[in-house]
Structures are given as C-alpha cells and as structure tokens.
C-alpha cells in the first residue's frame, strides 16, 4: 500500500524534496497520479522546455507559443501569464495557452467536495473499541441464586445491564473507512479544482523554480506578499527533485509546500491559498489528465464504434 517516492540514483546539484515526502506516502499513495512513477518512459523529457519557443538562456525572449499536446476541438484555449521568480515584483515573461478541458472545466463544487471527502476518509481508521460481555474477564459465575433472594435474576456480572459489564453494540474497531473514488471523479475533481483556482486568480504559472534568485525564506515570503499570493502557497513542479533555492526557502516556511505533479490533489490545492505551477508542470498535468480523458472515452460504451 505504501509507495515510496523515487530516489535519485546519481548525485545531483539539486536537493531532494523532503518536506512533502511524508505527505506523499500517506495522502497521495492511492492517487491515480502515483502510477506515473512507474511509467517514466511516457513522461515528457524533464529538464527541457523544447515545446516552448523561448530558450532558457535568453531572459528577454517572451514565451508566447505553446503547442497543446491534445488541441481542443471545440473550445478556444484560455490564456495565462508566465511569471518569473527572479525579483519580488515579478516580470511577465510570456503568455501561454491553457487547455480549456482542464483549466476551464465547469467548477463542480460537489465533485471537489467528493474528492476531498474521499481523501479524508480513505486513510481514516476508527480505533474506538469496546469489549463485549464475552471478552470481559470473569462473569462466568451466577452472581446470586435464581430464586428466593428477592433480587432480580441475573446470570453474569458482565451483562450489559451491569455497571462494569460488557458493551452491547459498542464500537468494534479498528474500522477502516477506505474506499476508492472512481477514476472519472478523481480526474474531474482535479480539473474542477484547477479551473476554480484559475478562475479565482489563485493559480499562477512560472517559467521554472530555478529562477528563484535567493535561498532565503524571507525573500520567498516577501515575494508571495508582494504578489498577493496569500499566506500559503503550493509550488508544483513536474519532478520531485526541486531546485536548490526554492527547497531551502520553503524549508523554513511551514505554509509553503513543494509538490511534484504526481502528488497533485484537490485537498492540497484547496488547503493552500495559491497554487504555483511551472510550465513543465502544466505540460504534464495536461498530458496526464487528457490521457485519462481519452482512456475513459475509449472505455465508455457510449463512444464505441
């Protein structure tokens, strides 16, 4: 049941994301996105931005063109600014299209609620337990004779009627509340949450986390305050090896969380006021969610040919 995050084999200048590691093992291990770890061959090439026109070497070039892997047939894409983490104010380094099926999904609050409820429940175990009369010690002897004592007839001091007796119909823990939400709703929950966050200006896109110029927590905090990102920010990248500066900066800030795309979930997005995605994370989210869409579509008998 427990899936450990993938460890880096060779030494790397980047540091391992350690803060959300615990969270990943517990909350997100059942997520369908966790499967992405097992299929590294299908991931887009990490560390490159080949699908963007601008190169990382020149800061002046604007990121304007982005090819959607699954271009929408009927709807026009949404557009989002691409920011950079170099300075406090931030500079707009581009304007990219976002897939409307993922970032402009109908914001079904009830589906988001279902997802959050599922996330809370599937790891919940009720440990409340009470012993029955059979499990209590003693009580085998008849406390007093059946007749001629003037008292009520009883057969055991562990009867539920007795003080200190066993419980009738008490909680019989540990009880698991585990269940699996269907794939369709899990995917839809992510799409709805992303769309809602985007619609409420709580979703921002940055070129990459490597652009953060300082490892200081104060700098990142001031940056978030300057940009009205609120008190808690969720940074999402496509890999779980985060850039050094942002990893060090987030280490001292309990409400600033780093997370890879495979750990993305409704609960965390709603727990944090702002979600910050890298462009690579956007690519990967779109690719994953559209692939799930296609998979569901293939399995749907309504679309059978």
């Amino acid at each position: 049941m427990i899936i450990r995050p993938v460890l880096l084999k060779e030494p790397s200048p980047k540091v391992m994301m350690h803060k959300t590691g615990t969270l990943l093992r517990t909350v997100f291990s059942r997520s369908w996105l966790a499967e992405s770890i097992r299929k590294p061959a299908l991931l887009p090439c990490a560390g490159t931005i080949s699908r963007y026109t601008a190169s990382s070497s020149s800061n002046s070039a604007l990121i304007t063109d982005r090819q959607l892997l699954y271009p929408p047939k009927y709807n026009t894409p949404r557009e989002a600014w691409v920011e950079t983490l170099g300075t406090l104010e931030g500079r707009k380094v581009g304007l990219i299209p976002l897939h409307p099926d993922i970032f402009a999904e109908f914001p079904r609050i009830d589906v988001i609620h279902e997802n959050v409820k599922w996330q809370k429940l599937y790891q919940h175990v009720d440990y409340a337990h009470q012993r029955t009369r059979a499990e209590m010690p003693g009580g085998g002897r008849k406390p007093w004779p059946q007749k001629k004592t003037g008292r009520a007839r009883h057969g055991s001091i562990r009867s539920p009627l007795f003080k200190g007796g066993g419980a009738a119909k008490g909680p019989r823990g540990p009880k698991s509340f585990f269940y699996m939400l269907d794939l369709q709703n899990r995917a839809k929950g992510l799409k709805c949450t992303l769309s809602a966050k985007f619609a409420q200006d709580d979703l921002h896109i940055v070129d990459s986390f490597e652009s953060l110029s300082s490892p200081e927590s104060q700098f990142l905090e001031a940056l978030a305050a300057k940009r009205n990102w609120g008190l808690s920010v969720l940074f999402v990248d496509d890999t779980d090896f985060m850039a050094k500066n942002i990893a060090l900066a987030c280490r001292g800030l309990p409400s600033f969380t780093l997370m890879p795309v495979y750990g993305l979930n409704c609960f965390s997005m709603l727990k944090h006021e702002t979600v910050v995605l890298t462009t690579r994370a956007v690519d990967k989210i779109e690719e994953r969610l559209k692939r799930v869409d296609n998979l569901l579509r293939q399995n749907d008998p309504r679309h059978a040919r």
């Binding site: 009927y74 709807n75 026009t76 409307p100 402009a104 999904e105 109908f106 914001p107 609050i109 009830d110 988001i112 609620h113 279902e114 959050v116 409820k117 949450t193 769309s195 809602a196 966050k197 619609a199 409420q200 200006d201 709580d202 609960f267 709603l270 727990k271 006021e273």
Partner: protein
C-alpha cells in the same frame, strides 16, 4: 472566451466564481445525500405492514381519502382567531377621491347637488351588494392632492385626510350610517321603486359604531352641529389650510343640506311610495302608519 456551444455555461460559472470568496476546505459543500433506504423491521414484533411496498400488493391499503385516527378533523388543527366573526363584519368597498374628481370632471356626477351613496351607485361605476354585508362606501385618500371639487358629500367610512381634502375646497362631508334595508333601497333605486314598497325607516347605528357616527371629528351625522363646526376649524389648523367660510358661499343651502337620521333619500321621507309608472308619490294617510315612520 470560448465560443458558442457547451462553453457558454462554463464561462458564466467561472465568471461568477471570480466574484465569490475563494473556494477552500471550509466552504465546500456536497450535493444533498441520497435518502436512506427503508429499513425493514425485524424481530418478534416485526413492526407494522404500513408503508411497505408489499402492502400495496396485499391490498391492505386504506381507501384513498381515508383519514384515520380518533381525532376528528375539525378539532385537529388550531383555530385561527384572526378571522373570527369575519362573516359578521361590516364591509365598505373603497372609492377614491381620484375617481370622484374624475367622474365630476366628466359630468357623470353633478356637484351642484348633494352627493351620497345613491348618486355614486347611480353612476353604475361603483357597486355595493348589501347581501355581502357591504355597508356603504369607504372614500380613500388616493387623488387627495388633486381633489378640487366643492361638494356636499355623504359617505359611510373615510379618514381624516379625506375630510380635510373636501373641506379645504369649501365643501362639507358627513359620515352617515345606513342599515341594510336602506342600503337595499339605495344601491339600486329603480328596481326598489319598481317593487312598490314604502321607503324604509332608517335605523340607528348599532352599538359598536355608534361612537364613530356621533363623533364630530369624523363628521358623524349624529354629532352636535356646533361641535362639528369647531372640529372643522381644528382640522384646518392641524393640516394648515385656510377654511373657506361656508356661510358666505353662494351654494350655502346646498352645502348644508342634511338628511334626517331616519331618512335615506334626500327629499323623500320614509313611508312614502314612489310610483314610477304614474310618476307620482303616494304618502301614507293613516295616522298609525305616519306615527310609525315619524322621526
């Protein structure tokens, strides 16, 4: 924004979401939970059969419309006392000052003669039905500020403002009570006279409205005329207008014309019979009858 088709409702929802508070873990709300299924009773007693789907098949359902229980229906619900005695209350169908002014302007009502319920009903634009416990006209304040006519008015119910509006223009107003027998004669004079019965003797007001109809402030017809004159001045001072002197008015005779408390038509006395066919008036000659109709 997305074009036509399914994107439009999405756009609307997302635009709406922009102005709403941030969606957080605290304000999420799911759809209403599905209703719990019926639990079958178990054990020795097993509950009752009522409400089970099988019951319809067994045919043990009570007949449609059957109201069980030992409590009779008419005692089951609490009584609503605010309607108590509604069938006995006097009703006064409203008529506005605006309508009155309009009918005068259009020549339907002649202000040169005293205006009473008979005049209003004869316009055929205002109706009362004594059988529905209509006790006359309630003259309302609508059109009060544009009311300009100088009239001698007799109504059954009104307000202080209406009285002021009439008297400000030099007119006079009286609040008069008519019992149902008189109203029956007054609301449709032609059919009443065609019946050939004597004009009824007007009854005195019942106890619960005697105070109103003898109140000089409401220009009650049983009030002391001296007290009414004083009340006219008081009302003019209260509302702040100059009260025209009726005594110096050229239409003084018309303006102070009043009915007797036992009389329901101007110039016609109770006990008389109006013969429409011969266009004559028959007056009782017998002393006993004359004594009966005497005021």
């Amino acid at each position: 924004m997305a074009g036509a088709g399914p994107g439009r409702s999405v756009d609307y929802a997302l635009t709406l979401l922009r102005r709403l508070p941030r969606i957080t873990l605290g304000n999420l709300k799911g759809n209403k939970e599905q209703k719990k299924k019926h639990n079958y009773s178990r054990g020795q007693d097993g509950g009752s059969d009522r409400g089970y789907p099988e019951q319809a098949k067994k045919g043990s359902q009570p007949p449609l419309g059957f109201a069980g229980g030992s409590n009779p229906y008419y005692t089951r619900h609490p009584v609503e006392w605010y309607y108590r005695g509604h069938e006995l209350r006097r009703q006064y169908p409203p008529y506005s000052l605006f309508s009155l002014q309009r009918n005068i302007d259009m020549g339907i009502i002649d202000p040169a003669y005293p205006i009473d319920l008979v005049q209003l009903c004869n316009t055929k634009l205002y109706h009362i039905d004594p059988l529905q416990r209509h006790f006359g006209v309630n003259l309302t304040e609508e059109g009060m500020h544009m009311f300009k006519a100088k009239i001698n008015l007799e109504v059954q119910w009104t307000t202080e403002s209406v009285i002021a509006a009439v008297e400000r223009n030099g007119g006079t107003i009286t609040l008069a009570y008519f019992d149902p027998a008189c109203l029956n004669a007054m609301h449709d004079t032609r059919s009443f006279f065609a019946r050939g019965v004597p004009i009824p003797r007007r009854a005195l007001p019942p106890e619960n409205c005697l105070e109103l109809y003898s109140n000089p402030k409401m220009r009650g017809y049983l009030a002391d005329p001296a007290a009414v004159s004083l009340a006219r001045v008081e009302l003019a001072q209260k509302f702040g207008y100059n009260l025209p002197d009726v005594t110096k008015d050229p239409d003084y005779e018309m303006l102070i014309k009043r009915k007797d408390p036992r009389q329901c038509f101007y110039d016609l006395e109770p006990g008389w019979v109006v013969n429409l066919k011969d266009r004559t008036i028959l007056k009782p000659a017998d002393e006993v009858i004359r004594q009966y109709y005497r005021s």
